[in-house]
Structures are given as structure tokens and as C-alpha cells.
Amino acid sequence: AQTIHQWPVAEIKAVGSPLSLGCTIKGKSSPNLYWYWQATGGTLQQLFYSITVGQVESVVQLNLSASRPKDDQFILSTEKLLLSHSGFYLCAWGQNSGNTLYFGEGSRLIVV
């Protein structure tokens, strides 16, 4: 069975500090990977997606970057956090066929 793990579960960070959120998928070879951001109001915004190792497509610009260093790993990062980065970050995997996403449990970020 496939599993998806996100870390950390929650963080409180200062404005201007760096951030790194991670996501690992086990039990699935070459998945499509996605980062979503969910604001307090609940709306989901797709940030990045990756079809293969080393390739990441940006959907929106929020002063964030993403990388896929391994087939099963997806990293979201920034060098300088903004207050507007606060929210719930969700990693997901999917397949080219089927159009179904499988989400991790999320990482909650509070920027102060």
C-alpha cells in the first residue's frame, strides 16, 4: 500500500526566516507530486506539480520554490517567509490516468 508522509506537522516561524517542508511517498513508483496551499478560509490553491525527478512546474508565484530531489520526495521551501505564507500546506500524489489525488496529513505553518 502507498503511504504519504509530510513533515513537520506544524511550525511557528518568524517573518524573514527560511522554511523547508517535506513530503515522502512510499510504495508508488514515479508518481505525479503536488503541493497545495490552503488558507484559513479553506480554499485550495495548487502551488507546484512534478511529473518526474528534477522537474517542477510552478502554478502560482507566492515567493516559494519546490524541488524533487528523489523520485519519492518533494520539498517546498523559501529563504524568507512572509506573513501571507501562513496556512496549511498539503502534499499529494497522483497518476497520469485516473485523475485522483491522495493527500498527506498536511503541515500547518504560522508566520509571526
Binding site: 479553506g42 506539480y49 499529494a92 497518476q95 497520469n96 490516468s97 485516473g98 485523475n99 491522495y102 493527500f103
Partner: protein, 114 residues
């Protein structure tokens, strides 16, 4: 560009009642439609999806959804809700099979009263 609209931000019912959560989409071609559930503070979980065939699709935990091309809708229904169904429900649409442009609605919070 596909869009998806969930007109109800909140729906409140009593336990044991039936419920329908509404979803309308806008896109001229073939699309994939799906529903996801999010319990408070958790990730989203897939409930069901439709692409073609029988317009009524069955999902987990007694949920079903019906596709209507004439109404551009994909409403989610359950005959008898349980308190554990309290969650936010998201409708999603994509015109591709790869989910690279999966567009989510704003979500409907389902509140179950005892």
C-alpha cells in the same frame, strides 16, 4: 479554463437526515469530476469520481454523486448522515487525466446536529 462552483458554504442537517451538497462546473469539453472530504485539521480524502458511463457514481461510506450535463452539475448525496460525516467537502474538476490542473471548489462545510 474549467471552473467549479459550490454555492453553499455551510449545510446543516440532523443526524439521520439525507443531504445533498451542490457542485456546478463550467467547461466545454470532456471533464473529470470528483469529490473529496476533509475532516478538521486533516488532509483531503478521495470520495468518488466520474468521467463517463453511468451518471450516478457510488463512493465510500454511502456517498453517491450524480452527473448532469444539462445542468452542468455533479451533486453529492447521502441518504442518512452520521455525526462522523461532519467535514468540509470539496468538488474538483479537471479536463485532463493527469490532474495537473485539478481545480477545486471553495468547499462546503457539512454540520451534523445530534
Amino acid at each position: 479554463t474549467q471552473t467549479v462552483s459550490q454555492s453553499d458554504a455551510h449545510v446543516t442537517v440532523f443526524e439521520g437526515d439525507s443531504v445533498e451538497l451542490r457542485c456546478n462546473y463550467s467547461y466545454g469539453g470532456s471533464i473529470y469530476l470528483s469529490w473529496y472530504i476533509q475532516h478538521h485539521g486533516r488532509g483531503l480524502q478521495f470520495l468518488l469520481k466520474y468521467y463517463s458511463g453511468n451518471p450516478v457514481v457510488q463512493g465510500v461510506n454511502g456517498f453517491e454523486a450524480e452527473f448532469s450535463k444539462s445542468d452542468s452539475s455533479f451533486h453529492l448525496r447521502k441518504a442518512s448522515v452520521h455525526w462522523s460525516d461532519s467535514a468540509v467537502y470539496f468538488c474538483a474538476v479537471s479536463h485532463t487525466g493527469g490532474a495537473d490542473r485539478l481545480t477545486f471548489g471553495k468547499g462546503t462545510q457539512l454540520i451534523i446536529q445530534p
